[in-house]
């Protein structure tokens, strides 16, 4: 018996019938996109590397006696369950290569390191110093007598902080804009340093927070000791304070590897003022990830001056949230990438209330062909932030061929009665200025050095304390002297040749304007020649 297997041929005829008359009107949906909302939570999978790191951090710390810190750890742990390691496909890390950390073995620092005599150095000894070594506070409240009444500076875990713990617990709140590094710090911070200024109190002497990295490994060892310093600053209504953060290596660690993952939260009450200086001078083989989250109430003022020149991978995430109208914000940052370094600033200013005033100036110098700088300046002027006056300017100096800078100023403006501006300029040194100096007898190398130095001076001069300025200037000079072999650009004007400015700086530039559209791809950006006839 033969069996015939027939596969029935099914003819599928298109069943859609196009009606010849116009379709029914669709129901009128009013879609509103609210950009003020927090970013969508990642429906992610668990990244094994992150999970392992989270576990290591959890194991390294004993459960905290304080509920606020324990809550923070729990929340961070939960978010880490679904946060993958940032890859180049994530917009926030598109230009930043985190393989330095990803490909190393991470060892959290579990014990307060033994630090010898902590030299205050040449700074003004009247300043109050707080030393944080590898995330652990090493000294108790310094200079307590010189501080005004009610001001508290010290560890949250110490007994003397009892009085303010309740006030603080509302501030160690859930931060919706954090990323994986924020959560890592939340999970792994052994202690929280607190600076508390009660209402109406003006603290005359600035507080100098010195973050020292003690645990370190030799470069090339692929092991990174991780420390998670965490500081909370709360300034009640009408208070004023100056804060200086300095990130350094301990003696002898200037070329070693470590990873500092720090978080600073600042809450500024109504009419209060905070002047924040941030100097980063870590080892050239280290990783430095820092979060600064600032909340400004109405009529408050926040000023930040940053000078970063260290770290192989240095990233600063700055988030400033406006909680009331009439605020003032001034951000000035200076990044120097003089070796195989990446200097990254990702800033976000969110305005939800009217009449804010903000100015942001970012200057970076890339003086090495493997150096890189990244800038992502996000400003969101939301619907109710009318009469905002926001300005942003970024200027980069590319001094070597193949040096790279990626700038992405982006303004997202919804309110319609605002004054916002943004500008970006990337160039080599100005020909006109160089020629002017040469025409006065100053030779080319000296002229270049002087102009490079003066480029950063505009920001460095804004540091409010002269010892900081001098320290940064000295650091920058040293770094530039080391590169004093001079730029490898083409020869200058000869008798029958015209010199067309500094030659062949084939720079890879990725510049995007407002709203996120990509302009071209990568193209060679010739150095700017300005006519000064």
């Amino acid at each position: 018996m033969s069996a015939l297997a027939c596969t029935p041929v099914v003819l599928r005829t298109p069943t859609t019938v196009k009606s010849s008359f116009p379709c029914q009107p669709r129901p009128n949906y009013r879609t509103s996109v609210s950009l003020a909302a927090a970013p969508a939570t990642q429906i992610g999978f668990s990244d094994p590397f992150v999970l392992q790191l989270a576990e290591t951090l959890e194991d390294s710390l004993s459960p905290s006696p304080l509920t606020s810190i324990q809550n923070l750890r729990d929340a961070s742990s939960e978010s880490l369950l679904s946060t993958p390691w940032p890859s180049r496909r994530d917009e926030a890390f598109r230009f930043t290569d985190t393989s330095l950390i990803r490909q190393s073995q991470i060892l959290p620092v579990t014990q307060p390191p033994h630090v010898g005599k902590l030299a205050i150095g040449s700074e003004d000894t009247n300043f109050s110093h707080l030393f944080i070594a590898d995330g652990f506070l090493t000294n108790s409240i310094p200079n307590a007598s010189s501080l005004p009444d009610g001001v508290f500076i010290g560890s949250l875990l110490s007994d003397s902080s009892l009085g303010i713990r309740d006030k603080l617990s509302s501030f160690i709140s859930d931060f919706q804009w954090g990323d994986m590094f924020w959560s890592l710090n939340g999970l792994g911070a052994p202690d929280v340093a607190v600076i508390y200024v009660p209402a109406g109190v003006r603290v005359e002497t600035p507080i100098h927070l010195k973050y020292i990295s003690v645990e370190a490994r030799e470069s090339g060892s692929k092991v990174l000791p991780l420390s998670n310093p965490r500081v909370v600053v709360v300034v009640e209504d009408g208070g004023e304070i100056g804060i200086i953060e300095e990130f350094v290596s301990s003696e002898g660690n200037e070329n070693k590897c470590y990873w500092t993952n720090s978080v600073l939260e600042v809450v500024i009450g109504k009419g209060a003022q905070v002047k924040h200086s941030y100097v980063q001078n870590q080892s050239f083989n280290s990783a430095h990830i820092k979060w600064t989250s600032v909340k400004q109430e109405s009529t408050s003022r926040y000023e930040l001056v940053e000078a970063s020149s260290g770290g192989k991978l240095s990233r600063h995430n700055l988030h400033i949230q406006q909680l009331g109208p009439d605020t003032e914000t001034e951000v000035s940052t200076f990044h120097l990438s003089a070796g195989d370094q990446t200097q990254d600033l990702h800033s976000r200013l969110i305005f939800d209330h009217p009449r804010a005033y903000s100015r942001q100036l970012h200057k970076c110098i890339i003086a090495h062909s493997s150096g890189q700088a990244v800038f992502d300046g996000n400003v969101r002027v939301n619907r109710y932030a009318q009469q905002t006056d926001a300005g942003q300017l970024t200027r980069s100096l590319l001094l070597e061929p193949r040096a790279t800078v990626n700038v992405k100023p982006n303004l997202q403006i919804i309110a319609d009665d605002v004054k916002c501006s943004h500008g970006a300029a990337i160039s080599d040194l100005e020909e006109a200025q160089l020629f002017y100096m040469r025409a006065r007898g100053v030779d080319l190398n000296t002229a270049r050095k002087s102009l490079v130095f003066s480029f950063g001076k505009e920001v460095v001069d804004r540091l409010p304390h002269s010892y900081l300025r001098k320290g940064v200037e000295k650091q920058v000079k040293e770094v530039l002297e080391r590169l004093a072999a001079g730029p490898t650009t083409g020869h200058r004007g000869r008798r029958k040749r015209s010199s067309r400015g500094s030659a062949s700086a084939a720079t890879r530039l990725n510049k995007e304007g407002g709203g996120g559209g990509e302009v071209g791809g990568q193209f060679a950006w010739p150095p700017k020649l300005r006519s000064f006839l």
């Binding site: 100005e430 020909e431 006109a432 200025q433 020629f435 002017y436 100096m437 040469r438 025409a439 006065r440 007898g441 100053v442 030779d443 080319l444 000296t446 002087s450 102009l451 130095f453 003066s454 480029f455 001076k457 505009e458 200058r492 004007g493 000869r494 008798r495 029958k496 040749r497 015209s498 010199s499 067309r500 400015g501 006519s531 000064f532 006839l533």
Partner: protein, 333 residues
Amino acid sequence: MAQRLHFSSSSRPSPSLPTPNSVAASAKSNRLTFNFNFLPHPTTPTRLCFGTTNRRRLTVRPLAAAALPTVASDESVGVPGKKPLLEVRDLKAVIAETGQEILKGVNLVVNEGEVHAIMGKNGSGKSTFSKVLVGHPHYEVTGGSVVFKGKNLLDMEPEDRSLAGLFMSFQSPVEIPGVSNSDFLNMAYNARRRKLGLPELGPIEFYAYLFPKLELVNMKSDFLNRNVNEGFSGGERKRNEILQLAVLEADLSVLDEIDSGLDVDALQDVAKAVNGLLTPKKSVLMVTHYRRLLEFIQPSFVHIMEDGRIIRTGDMNTVSLLEKEGYKAMSTS
């Protein structure tokens, strides 16, 4: 027969100048006398020769009086006893980017102690000429030679030209934010001292040197802390240029439209400063449009430039004619 030695009867500079002896000497004689202590020159283009004795290098250029037609020979006079400071022979230059020819054969000799002025229509090449002298990268020299103090100027880098004693004050000085005036002057002055083999000056000694120069240009000392030309008005920038000239003590100053944008008082200050810096060894080459500056800084020679060449050399009478009848009276064609 053309008049000669026109310059000897010209009104020489204001009393504030030290009277150069050589001018007084030549004023007495009506004829060329020869000393044998001028430097030999490599180039000897054709010249008109007068007189009987050897005059291989000295010529008399037929200088036109006001009414006579100009002879378009563009040599300038050598004065006995004067060393040529700058000699430009048949200089041709183009704009480097476009190749457009601007200078089409400029001939000029500036001797020590002389004040020269160049006037001309817009676009005639006056500023280009001064920029080419100083070594501006926008221009490329395509022919001719420039000898400054016996050395080939066109082979030198701009900083070497400045160290050799050439100073140019820019028409629109650029600002250099971040570099203070005192630092800048200190750097430039120390570069000069290094070249002369003298020890460099520190900031305090330099300030002691600088202070009288400030008085010379009538500027206050608080401007030293400001950045170079940053926020300066036009007049302040020009005065800053003259201050740099005073500090660097150049031998030949090329002043490119130093009078543009200056009010009467500022102009007098600048002129006074320039006159105060003149010595029998130093020369000035001014580019200007207006008679006013020339009344303060009296020139020995006035050159009219047109279409990339110097078409006429005269003195203040030429300037008067120019003011009355305009550039078409100067034109030779």
